[in-house]
């Protein structure tokens, strides 16, 4: 079918690029974006499972007043780990994992621009996450909330190691996230198929590019904030030592300058997914494509200008509160435009109710509700009551759980056939959808009421007799209903892996390039470099008359492959470098400087090995007739 040229390995034996194609070793050394995407997706679901267990224990503890399932310390650890895991280790990497897999496929590329950097990003994320979880066995998990306000994190208030695990773990996984975001930007800007102008990019890819830009600007402030606390705790600096006159509020600024963009980092990939699912299943192009892109960019921009709406009660004064309140309202405009345009896409379509679009519809409803409560808490005077109550908890679960998570469930159902070549059973999927969505609302709707009745968040118990019993009990029961739904999803997906491989290239009558290649895609993705001359390239090649274009001659792509397709070689260095950093962090945490220095040196050695490893891999040459 195709011939292959192995490229010259580099000089030293040590620096040889490994060539395993199957087995554990091949996964440890892989640089293939599809394999890394799968690793990302599986890891984030694994972390999500842990966070879900934590959430269910939280709900159990709050079932009735004065439950003693866990003690206050354990409770603090539970919601901290739940929040940290969901945000940093589950939802955000899930978006990145989907991007890893599908962005190159959607733009007609063979891989990301920097495959080894991509591998490094994955490994450091997962090691960082695992590191935080080892804290449970090493003296207690972090217990300061996912926002870890100073000075709760200072050594004098929190001598245990939990905070160190939080800081180091998120510090290094943040490095990985940033690296992957840079990689995605370069990939999307540079590796688009010939003819795929920016305004012909699939919307998911667009949203991932915007997300990546947000990541590279939002993570450094967080990294600095982590660094400051790490230095305080490990080397005795004074960044958050109040006796030295430090300002704890600084942490809140740095955290939220990251933190608010972060919530859009979570939701924009979800917006992208929705913008793929809705047009596909209503058989219509996305309504107002340019406006959708523009509103995405607007949201990203504005996202950096609203951070103090999380700090309305910290005494910044009426002027600051007014300014940030108004910027927060303004964010509602582009978001509203998106919602309206999705409805506009459905309008006049021919909607096929598969599981993915059911999730998309659940998303529309839930996210709109969550957005409206967002606008409410963006009013400083209302927020003075709602802040740090269950009203806020309800708000962000509506946008993250009912928004991002539902969208990603939809994405799993949507892209599963592409990733595995197998179809998931629709009937069970719909039942699972029903329980999940119903459970979700039974779980979180009463929390609005609890919040308005004055129930603060992050409390492990609440007094009886002030009317909080019913709402909490309903909420906990909701979590059980949702749990049933989730178990059904799990069964559904596992069954999916057993289904016959009969999905074909294009089970949904899709619109974008990933549906033009076999499922699962071969490791080189495209046998012929696709060439594009319109939006929704795959749709245009199937139904040219509806797009008023003549699809480009596929053979045209072949000239871009004239020199052969370069398939990059595998490498040990990304994984080992990530491991070295992780071990170094343990060294610093346990004041074991020898270990820290050895790890540091190994890391530097890895960088050199990485740089001088040589190109590796091989070239594929496709026979002309075969490819045509």
């Amino acid at each position: 079918m195709a011939s292959q040229t192995t490229l010259a390995p580099s000089a030293g034996k040590l620096l040889q690029r490994p060539t395993w194609t199957r087995g554990a070793m091949s996964w440890l050394t892989t640089v293939d974006h599809k394999r890394l995407g799968i690793l990302y997706i599986l890891s984030s679901f694994a972390f999500m499972g842990l966070a879900a267990i934590e959430a269910f224990i939280i709900r159990l503890q709050l079932l009735t007043p004065d439950m003693r399932v866990v003690n206050p310390d354990q409770f603090n650890q539970l919601f901290t780990m739940h929040g940290v895991t969901m945000v940093f280790l589950a939802i955000m990497p899930l978006g990145i994992g989907l991007a890893n897999y599908f962005v190159p496929l959607q733009i007609g590329a063979r891989d990301l621009a920097f495959p080894r950097l991509n591998a490094f990003g994955y490994w450091i994320y997962s090691f960082g996450g695992l590191m935080i979880y080892t804290s449970i066995f090493l003296g207690g998990a972090p217990d300061v909330g996912w926002v870890a306000y100073a000075p709760l994190t200072s050594l004098s208030h929190n001598p245990g190691l939990g905070v160190d695990f939080y800081m180091f773990g998120l510090f290094i996984s943040g490095i990985g996230t940033t690296a992957t975001a840079m990689n995605l930007i370069v990939t999307i800007v540079n590796m688009r198929a010939p003819g795929m102008t920016m305004m012909r990019l699939p919307v998911f890819t667009w949203m991932m590019m915007i997300t990546s830009f947000m990541i590279i600007f939002a993570f450094p402030p967080l990294t600095i904030a982590f660094l400051e606390v790490i230095l305080d705790r490990t080397f005795g600096t004074l960044f958050y030592v109040q006796e030295a006159g430090a300002l704890p509020i600084l942490w809140q600024h740095l955290f939220w300058i990251f933190g608010h963009p972060e919530v859009y980092i979570i939701i924009l990939p979800a917006f992208g997914v929705i913008s793929e699912i809705i047009p596909t299943f209503s058989r219509k192009p996305l309504f107002g494509y340019p406006v959708m892109i523009l509103s995405g960019i607007m949201i990203a921009f504005m996202g950096f200008a609203v951070w103090t709406h999380h700090m309305f009660t910290t005494g910044l004064g009426p002027v600051v509160n007014t300014a940030f309140s108004i910027t927060s309202f303004i964010i509602g405009i582009p978001t509203g435009v998106k919602i309206f345009n999705w409805v506009g896409t459905l309008w006049g379509g021919s909607i096929r109710f598969t599981v993915p679009i059911l999730y998309a519809l659940a998303f529309l409803v839930t996210f709109t509700l969550g957005g409206i409560t967002g606008i409410m808490v963006a009013m400083p005077t209302f927020d003075a009551q709602a802040h740090d109550t269950y009203f806020v908890v309800a708000h962000f679960h509506y946008v993250m759980g009912g928004g991002a998570l539902m969208a990603f469930f939809g994405a799993v159902y949507y892209w599963f056939p592409k990733m595995t070549g197998r179809l998931i059973d629709e009937r069970l999927g719909k039942v699972a959808w029903f329980f999940t969505v119903l459970g979700f609302h039974v779980l979180f709707f009463p929390q609005h009421i609890a919040g308005l009745m004055g129930m603060p968040r992050r409390i492990q118990t609440y007094p009886a007799g002030i009317g909080l019993e019913t709402v909490n009990m309903v909420s906990t029961i909701g979590s059980w209903i949702m749990g049933v739904g989730l178990i059904l999803i799990l069964i559904n997906v596992i069954q999916g892996f057993r289904a016959p491989k009969n999905a074909g290239n294009d089970p949904w009558d899709g619109r974008t390039l990933e549906w033009s290649i076999p499922s699962p895609p071969p490791y080189y993705n495209f046998a012929v470099q696709p060439v594009v001359n319109s939006l929704d390239a795959h749709w245009a090649s199937k139904y040219p008359e509806t797009m008023h274009v003549t699809p480009p001659d596929p053979a045209e792509g072949r000239k871009y492959d004239a020199g052969g397709v370069h398939i990059p070689g595998q490498s040990w260095y990304p994984m080992v470098a990530a491991l070295a950093i992780t071990i170094g962090c343990y060294g610093l945490m346990y004041d074991n400087l020898v270990l820290a220095v050895i790890s540091g040196l190994s890391f530097i050695a890895c960088i050199f090995g990485w740089a001088f490893e040589g190109v590796g891999g091989h070239h594929l040459h496709f026979d002309t007739e075969e490819a045509a």
């Binding site: 930007i185 370069v186 402030p221 004074l238 600084l250 190109v615 091989h618």
Partner: protein, 204 residues
């Protein structure tokens, strides 16, 4: 699929299609520097938030030596100039000149670091340390982070020179020098900001 033993050397590979015609590494460097701007921005922000909040001395006016730091700033600026020459040389395939100028950059960078080490030692002797007051904490971490950037730059440049002995470098590889140059100029600019915001502002 049959593996063919005949393998073209790395540099003979055809250049794959790129939408912007810019090399990937160059874009990556731009993106990285954009991100790094926020990194330094946050550190400088922290410095400014804690300016004049130290409860005990020594304070900036007690320790800063503007003429000395001006000299080291000038040295760093000059190194950027040499960096331009170095890039020009490799584009002309003039490897000896390339080595000379790159070594010059690395050398000037090291002198800058020497000044910084001297300054740090001097400050510590004057009683300023990361544990002393907020000024010490924020000053050392900010300028120290910058120093680490310079150090990485110097190591990178030395690695480039070493590489020129190991492999036949030429104009086709100039992009690798270019990105090192971008990095170097960026670090230089950041220093000018730090010099202004941290040092000069104290004396106006």
């Amino acid at each position: 699929m049959s593996a063919q033993p005949a393998a073209p050397a790395a540099s003979e590979q055809p250049v794959p299609y790129r939408a912007t015609k810019l090399p990937d590494v160059k874009l990556l460097m731009w993106v990285f520097l954009a991100s790094d701007t926020m990194f330094f921005g946050s550190l400088i922000g922290t410095y400014l938030a804690y300016k004049d909040r130290s409860l005990v001395g020594p304070l900036p006016v007690d320790v800063f030596d503007i003429p000395l730091t001006t000299v080291s700033t000038f040295v760093l600026l000059m190194s950027s100039f040499l960096m331009v020459l170095s890039l020009h040389a490799i584009r002309q395939n003039d490897i000896p000149k390339f080595r000379l100028w790159t070594a010059g950059v690395a050398f000037f960078g090291s002198i800058f670091l020497g000044f910084q080490v001297y300054e740090f030692v001097h400050f510590v002797n004057a009683g300023l340390s990361i544990h002393q007051n907020l000024f010490g904490t924020t000053f050392f971490i900010l300028t120290g982070t910058h120093g680490v950037h310079v150090t990485v730059g110097v190591i990178w440049l030395v690695a480039l020179i070493m590489d020129s002995y190991l492999r036949p470098l030429g104009a086709k590889d100039s992009v690798y020098v270019e990105i090192a140059g971008l990095y170097w100029h960026f670090v230089d600019i950041v220093w000018i900001v730090i010099f202004t915001v941290v040092y000069l502002v104290e004396f106006v």
